[in-house]
Symmetry: C2
Subunit: 340 residues, 2 copies
């Protein structure tokens, strides 16, 4: 059963394809009578325009691409939800690709999206990405790009971010306010901007509150997993058994650390207070519950799509367009792990 075409409708009604097309698109220069006839027949035949032909004519696919480091991830899945809910409202579909934190894969995914001629790309960059030519190439081809969360300052495009440095500062200051004197930090890899910024916020908070910044208290993690949390928590106990607080880059790692401490009989928050980052759902149900920085994933997804949509529209009309960087607010959520 082949799909119905404009031609078939035109032949059935004995009118031209042009008129059928115009009638369905409600052009003002088609008589009401003709419009009615065309629409009724289109309805009964369940006519759906052939997207391929429409795309080819209009050079628009009404599809956007999304590249994220990891799909099975509370924060990113919240972002995905925000994006697709907003995209649907505007009639856009979303193709999702995963970079697995690899630069090579990220490059490949973007290539795939460009070949598919998506109308724009949303991206949160991989930890492994240090070179941004692949993204600049997309921008150079006048294809709208919006970066979110894991961005590159050096790339010239719209962005949606949080103030990682400030949020990390607040998290660390909270530990200081609770009386912690020797605070460690589990940070992310060296490249990503947000792990740099969170580290700087931590360092600043220490220095501004009379605590010594001690590099040996900063642990650099690779894949930000639960297992790494366990591993570095145990290592920290060996290295510095007098630490009384930790600010951890990501909730999942913090949850690993909590597990390790629970097993070793370390009391949280009495012996060691902990603050995580991101506010994964899990953090509110583990024991003890984890204090953390709430990061608005859903809202970030919505905002990123809106920026992209605006750019697509403006460019289509050849109107002037300015890149914007939207900063979303974060919140310190105090729970048991730091509430002493």
């Amino acid at each position: 059963m082949k799909p119905v075409t404009l031609k078939q409708i035109a032949e059935t009604l004995g009118i031209s394809v042009t008129t059928v097309s115009k009638a369905l698109k409600d052009y003002p220069d088609v008589s009401k009578k003709t419009k009615k006839l065309v629409r009724e027949l289109a309805d009964t035949l369940n006519y759906k325009p052939n997207a391929f032909a429409v795309n080819l004519r209009t050079s628009e696919s009404k599809t956007i691409g999304l590249v994220i480091p990891e799909v099975v991830h509370h924060f990113f899945s919240s972002v995905v939800k925000g994006i697709i809910s907003q995209a649907e409202k505007k009639g856009y579909l979303v193709i999702i690709l995963q970079s697995s934190e690899s630069y090579e894969l990220e490059k490949k995914q973007i290539d795939l999206l460009m070949s598919q001629r998506v109308d724009g790309i949303l991206i949160s960059i991989a930890n492994g990405t240090a070179n941004f030519n692949h993204i600049n190439d997309v921008i150079a081809q006048d294809k709208p790009v919006v970066m979110f969360d894991k961005i590159a300052k050096i790339v010239n495009c719209s962005k949606v971010i949080i103030d990682d440095r400030k949020a990390a500062y607040i998290a660390t200051k909270h530990l200081i306010d609770k009386g912690c004197k020797k605070i460690a930090h589990f940070r992310g890899p060296l490249l990503p901007q947000n792990s740099i910024d969170r580290f700087l916020g931590y360092k600043n908070a220490l220095e501004e509150h009379g605590l010594v910044y001690n590099p040996s208290l900063v642990y650099i993690l690779e894949d930000m997993s639960f297992d790494e949390g366990v591993f570095f928590a145990e290592k920290l106990l060996k290295d510095h058994n007098d630490v009384d607080g930790i600010f951890i880059n990501t909730d999942l790692v913090a949850i690993g650390a909590i597990n390790a401490f629970n097993k070793k009989g370390i009391k949280i928050p009495e012996d060691i207070a902990i603050v995580g980052f991101s506010n994964w759902f899990m953090s509110s149900v583990i024991s003890p519950t984890l204090s953390t920085i709430d990061q608005p994933g859903y809202n970030m997804g919505k905002t990123a799509f809106k920026l992209l949509y605006k750019e697509i529209k403006q460019r289509k009309k050849n109107k002037p367009f300015e890149y914007k960087t939207v900063e979303l607010p974060t919140d310190l959520v105090v729970r048991e792990s730091s509430n002493k």
Copy 2:
């Protein structure tokens, strides 16, 4: 900067579009010399075929649609990951849409995908879906459909499932083996096949092991959330304070119940033993850790895509095709919540 076309390459080299097209596709009837010239120029110009034109000619989009009830969900995001990893290998892109457990939305999403002319659809149906015309319509248009996890037995297409009934039976029998005498069940809504099957497995296990099946011990949940877990755990305590085991349809709900019991000072597993379903990551890190049925999300996604891919290929070649139902194995994972 407009993308390069075959025509431009042809004009630059002073040959025909036909030959350029054939050269790039490695047709045997083009001379090696011409092929080399064409390829080199295509490379330097970074030629990418216009997907819209290719789609229109070949009636293929190399894109598939995926409809799931919920994106922010450990099980479904694992499935998504399995699907996109497999799809990428075969050169397919995946458009993801969320039904939010609503029949109306699910219908709309499928419509969107059909309008976009995807090459096939993967779907896990919404709790609210009782009528399957929207899916049968897709199948009637010769568009491949594969259902996974939340399937409809009545729909004639390929499926990827687990044996929910057997898994639930094993979970319940495990509680019986541990000495539980009065076992409650938190089940899902009435429509979905898997909540029916899990209930039947529970009931069977009781009956085959000399325990009385008591309908008042079965609670019907709506949205399978953490909050519902809390609510029904508290209700259960009021209704039946002598219950000593619960088999719960989904881990997230079980985690809510554990939280409620922890707060009330009920000891798990001593007072009440609990087994969940799905093996969310969270279940291994809460306290007590949750016994559960491991449900292979990633593998389910991979398998579903493979079935879809095969069907797409076979149909394209007009070769005979048979619907298959693949059943994936599950595992009982015993943890603290039932280990007495």
